[in-house]
């Protein structure tokens, strides 16, 4: 199966370079309003979370589209838009649970992540590795390893605590 975006928000430094290179790569324009990926921030807590399309298997945007402008691309494992068919009704924007479908008020078009046809620029430019492009089954392995590490640390801390008592 084709690769998927994997966002590890803990590693995000909030620099928003992904937004910049996404807009420049797709439109040749610097403007975060054109970016397919967007870093949501809670500055007062130092929390930064990049949000992008999840390329859902059972995509609400695809299901809701009244003119079937949205389709599933099996080869790249992505949800794709056909601008020749799209009527710009923004139903997809309304139903997306992640806010990943955006509307561009300058070109009057909806737009979403297309994984840069297999070479996502956000991944390429993110030096800290907050965004990865990996086999979907690997994602859960990463998460398992991290969770296991947390458990083992907790175990060690508990043992140390017991030793002190």
């Amino acid at each position: 199966m084709a690769k998927a975006l994997y966002i590890d928000y803990q590693k995000c430094t909030g620099c928003r370079l992904c937004e910049l290179v996404c807009a420049v790569m797709h439109d040749g324009i610097s403007n975060p309003a054109r970016s397919r990926i967007k870093v949501m921030k809670w500055e007062a807590e130092g929390l930064y979370i990049p949000m992008s399309c999840q390329q859902c298997q059972d995509a609400p945007c695809l299901n809701v589209c009244p003119v079937k402008a949205i389709s599933w691309d099996e080869e790249m494992a992505r949800v794709m838009l056909d601008y020749d068919v799209c009527i710009g009704c923004r139903s997809c924007v309304a139903v997306c649970p992640f806010g990943a479908m955006s509307f561009n008020t300058i070109d009057k078009q909806v737009f979403k992540c297309d994984l840069c046809d297999g070479d996502p620029q956000c991944v390429r430019f993110c030096d800290v590795g907050a965004i990865g492009f990996v086999d979907p089954d690997e994602i859960s392995i990463y998460k398992k390893r991290e969770a296991a590490e947390r458990l083992s640390n907790a175990g060690k801390d508990a043992a140390a605590l017991m030793a002190q008592i």
């Binding site: 620099c15 420049v24 610097s30 620029q121 390429r124």
Partner: protein
């Protein structure tokens, strides 16, 4: 196009707002950012204007590359006549404000007059509005920014604000954005406060078309690889700037007890490793943050671990806070440094100036020049952590005799305190030195003595001078884009060749500030980072503007000369201890008492130092008195200033 970003003139007295395009010939002469701001300052202020009166003009700008696909185009520049020094006022900060202003259609703001009640300026997709800020006045730096977002109903708005210190006209109040991004030094927040201007806010979704997007993107990638492969930046990205403090302290290059020692002993609690430990304990393993588009991510996140402000979130501390609230006052405790850092961030006050003045007051207290009568009973003994924190509060709110006096800045305070207090004030041109001690490093001493905004490291410091690089490496760096075949020395205690290094760095930093990128992306802390050749390309790919490396160098020289012209107009003379290019006598009279073998016993040799200044003036095109030579002004096409092109 980046070059279509406009300049706006805003009169706070009348409410008049006018936007103009920036002519291409002006761009080619001054590029943007600090360089164009210097031109505007020279053209839009009268000689001798009151820095906190309505006639002072406040410039706010992004660099010519702001928000483009060049690396880290995040810097905001603020300029006005300084209430601290009476000379050039200039501050530069990272964060996200300048790019947002560029997306909202503007690169430069020229703010004049004084509002009759607190206001803030809101810039939104080509429109500028002056809005009521009476409910926001009095709020801290972050509270004010969040309140503006509430007021506008938009969480994406970015603001630059002055904090309570600016409102209270503390002469060294900062302009701030985000949690801790500070336009520090020379009191630009005080100028905002004097104009009843609480904030400038921006929100933009306007396109900036990149001239050659494919090339710009690929070049940016190369740029980033070069920047992130430098060891110095990898260190910055792991533990932030505290590593600089750790290195210079162990070597003997920082001030302790004002200027009595050049090394702070028993400082384990504020060493970079300890600070990093606190960041990790309070914020987890990934606790570094970055400014717009920057992969260095040198900004640490922390929560204060204990003390009266325990649990408060902040960012940093930078090495400047370690120096200001740890080393200089001889209070090397993490809680004091982190708390002090948090307070100046929330008050919007320059950490370097604040720490310097507190440590100066502590020395005066030790000498009996001030007593408990002047301190309102506060024990200002060295190492008194509570007194340091208390003084930060008193200065911001001008509480008590000493708090109010120090808030006026060092020179005015020394005139009020009297006796020989001035002799102990470590300043140049009225601005306190940062926390570093330059007695063992003549190049760095020359840098602070001649820097255009006063005693400062970010104007011309050849920091790589400390690395003892082979001469051929220095030659490679310092003879481009302009050939240089004079002497260069790898030895940091030497005097020869240093004037050229300082002159080269002055132009390098000016170019960076015109472009609007960060100094960590050029020859500052790392010797392998991009400069003129690369900027020529990055400028072309992003803006379409064709300029050779030599032409960018010329722009930098021109802008530095305009800053010099402004300072001369406001009374700079070479030997003036309060307004000149000269160091405090202690640099010449008191040898270093601590540090490495190549530091201990070192002091600045005055005759050699004077010769360095002569040589530096020669490189700049100044005569022996520091006045520009007419033929050099002509060569730089600024012989008829002010020309009022904008």
């Amino acid at each position: 196009m980046p070059l279509k970003r406009k300049i706006a003139y805003i009169n706070l007295t009348t409410g008049d707002i006018e936007a103009k395009t920036i002519p291409l010939d002006v761009r080619k002469k001054f590029l943007g950012g600090r360089g164009l701001d210097a031109y505007l300052l020279y053209n839009h202020t009268e000689k001798g204007c009151d820095p906190i009166g309505p006639d002072n003009t406040l410039m706010v700008s992004g660099g010519i590359l702001a928000a483009t696909c060049a690396s880290a185009t995040a810097r905001t520049h603020i300029m006005a006549k300084s209430p601290l020094t009476g000379l050039l006022g200039s501050a530069n900060m990272g964060g996200f404000f300048a790019p947002e202003m560029a997306w909202s259609g503007f690169h430069h703001l020229v703010i004049k007059g004084k509002a009759d009640h607190p206001v803030y300026i809101y810039i939104h997709n080509g429109e500028i509005e002056i809005r009521d800020a009476r409910d926001i006045w009095g709020l801290s730096v972050t509270e004010a920014q969040w309140a503006i977002r509430e007021d506008l109903g938009d969480q994406e708005v970015k603001s630059m604000v002055c904090g309570p210190a600016g409102e209270n006209l503390v002469a060294f109040a900062n302009v701030m954005t985000g949690i801790k991004d500070s336009g520090g030094r020379t009191g630009m927040g005080c100028v905002m406060g004097s104009k009843n201007l609480k904030a400038v806010s921006a929100r933009g979704t306007m396109d900036i078309k990149i001239a050659h997007p494919v090339e710009a993107l690929e070049f940016n990638k190369r740029f980033i690889d070069q920047i992130t492969s430098a060891k110095v930046n990898q260190t910055q990205g792991t533990i932030g700037t505290p590593f600089i403090w750790g290195a210079t302290n162990s070597w003997g290059g920082i001030r302790c007890r004002n200027f009595q020692y050049n090394q702070c002993e028993y400082a384990d609690d504020i060493e970079p490793e300890r600070i990093d430990e606190i960041c990790e304990e309070t914020m987890g393993p990934y606790h570094m943050a970055g400014c717009f588009g920057c992969q260095v991510h040198c900004r640490a996140q922390y929560k204060i671990p204990d003390g009266p402000y325990a649990g408060k979130y902040d960012e940093g501390p930078e090495y400047t806070s370690q120096g200001a609230f740890g080393g200089e006052t001889d209070t090397p405790r993490a809680t004091t440094v982190l708390t002090g850092n948090h307070l100046v961030d929330q008050y919007g006050m320059d950490n370097l100036e604040t720490g310097s003045l507190i440590s100066w007051a502590m020395e005066l207290y030790e000498l009996g020049i001030i007593t408990k009568k002047e301190t309102d009973g506060l024990d200002l003994s060295w190492g008194n952590d509570e007194a340091v924190i208390e003084m930060i509060d008193r200065i911001c709110y001008r509480k008590g005799w000493l708090g109010d006096t120090l808030a006026k800045g060092g020179i005015q305070a020394s005139e009020i305190i009297g006796k020989n207090s001035f002799d102990y004030l470590i300043q140049v041109k009225g601005m306190s030195n940062l926390h570093s001690d330059e007695r063992a490093t003549p190049a760095l001493a020359l840098n602070i003595a001649t820097a255009s905004r006063g005693s400062d490291h970010l104007r011309s410091r050849p920091a790589i001078d400390l690395y003892h690089l082979p001469e051929e490496v220095l030659r490679k760096i310092y003879s481009s884009p302009i050939p240089y075949d004079g002497p260069l020395s790898s030895e940091h205690t030497e005097y020869i060749g240093k004037p050229w290094q300082v002159f080269w760095q002055e132009n390098c930093y000016m170019a960076v500030d015109c472009l609007g990128i960060c100094k960590y992306h050029t020859t500052f802390l790392g010797a392998t980072l991009p400069n003129f050749e690369d900027w020529s390309k990055v400028l072309y790919f992003n803006t379409g503007l064709e300029m050779t490396p030599e032409e960018i160098w010329e722009v930098a020289r021109r802008c530095n000369m305009i800053e010099r012209l402004f300072n001369l107009r406001e009374g700079l003379t070479r030997e003036d201890l309060k307004k000149g290019d000269i160091l405090n006598h202690r640099y010449f009279d008191e040898p270093c008492r601590r540090g490495a073998p190549d530091v201990i016993g070192k002091f600045i040799e005055k005759d050699k130092f004077i010769k360095m200044i002569d040589e530096f003036y020669e490189h700049k095109g100044l005569d022996k008195d520091g006045q520009p030579k007419p033929e050099v002004l002509k060569e730089l096409s600024i012989e008829n200033e002010p020309t009022h092109l904008l």
